[in-house]
Symmetry: C2
Subunit: 125 residues, 2 copies
DNA sequence: GTGAGAATGAGAGGCAATCTCAATCTTCTT
DNA sequence: AAGAAGATTGAGATTGCCTCTCATTCTCAC
């Protein structure tokens, strides 16, 4: 169930460890935005426990491999989610922290405007 | 020069201390986005030295009074600038950290769209 | 000038994230 | 299938930004 065969090719040369399988499983089954501490908490409930270092380290690896996207939402921590094909952005409630996915054609127009006016290639936010 | 008479009314009941005059002076003369540590460093060069606690505390006060705006740019720290009349946004270079002010009518259209589609009143970013 | 109440400094504390390094695991080579 | 090279892991130390605590000092209305 969790032993994903595709994972081997997705990891592009990086060793496929039990921890990495567990972490990707947890992120894929989160079905929303999840932070490192919560991943650590959920990982601790599984048969293989996991350290916080490993969570942080592998989130960086997944990010680099293009499997996961890091979202710098709210004030303090980063949230993570499986990388989606159509790019999207986020609304964060200042009161309760609720995160809502957001899409609009205006975003692309805005990014084009930034590119033309300032030469910036927009990658975040 | 630094002893600003308007400041008394701007502070709306909060005591006008030498530290607050110095901090507002430093922010106003920075002419760009400045962080707490840099304010502390520049404050230490003046006749009155200043503690990091006082920098952070007063930035919160200035923010609350509407004199200064807090910008959560980059990864780690907040930057501060004098509150501008026409709202603006920012571009941050991922390589060197350079911050560029940015304005566009598309921003307002986007904020309106968010308001209508999701009921969010956009306040940041 | 006095006094009530607010601001300050120095250091402790909080929290997310990174780093260190010895022990363990993966994978490649025989 | 065993061995070896190289990558990963855990635990705890460390960093960086920021807030909190509280005894002392300052501000301002009277
Ligand atoms: Mn999302
Ligand atoms: Mn600005
Ligand atoms: Zn909410
Ligand atoms: Zn740059």
């Amino acid at each position: 169930m969790r032993g994903n065969l595709n994972l081997l090719s997705e990891m592009k040369g990086h060793p496929v460890t039990a921890h990495r399988q567990l972490l990707l499983h947890l992120i894929r089954n989160a079905h929303d935005h999840i932070d490192a501490k919560e991943l650590y908490r959920r990982g601790a409930n599984e048969e293989e426990s996991i350290s916080l270092s490993t969570v942080y380290r592998n989130l960086q690896v997944f990010k680099k491999l293009g499997l996961v996207e890091e979202r710098r939402l709210g004030q303090m921590r980063c949230y993570y989610e499986i990388k989606q094909k159509p790019e999207h952005h986020h609304l964060v409630c200042q009161r309760c922290g609720k995160i809502v996915d957001f899409e609009s054609p205006l975003i692309r127009k805005l990014m084009d405007e930034v590119q033309h006016q300032h030469g910036f290639n927009v990658t975040k936010k």
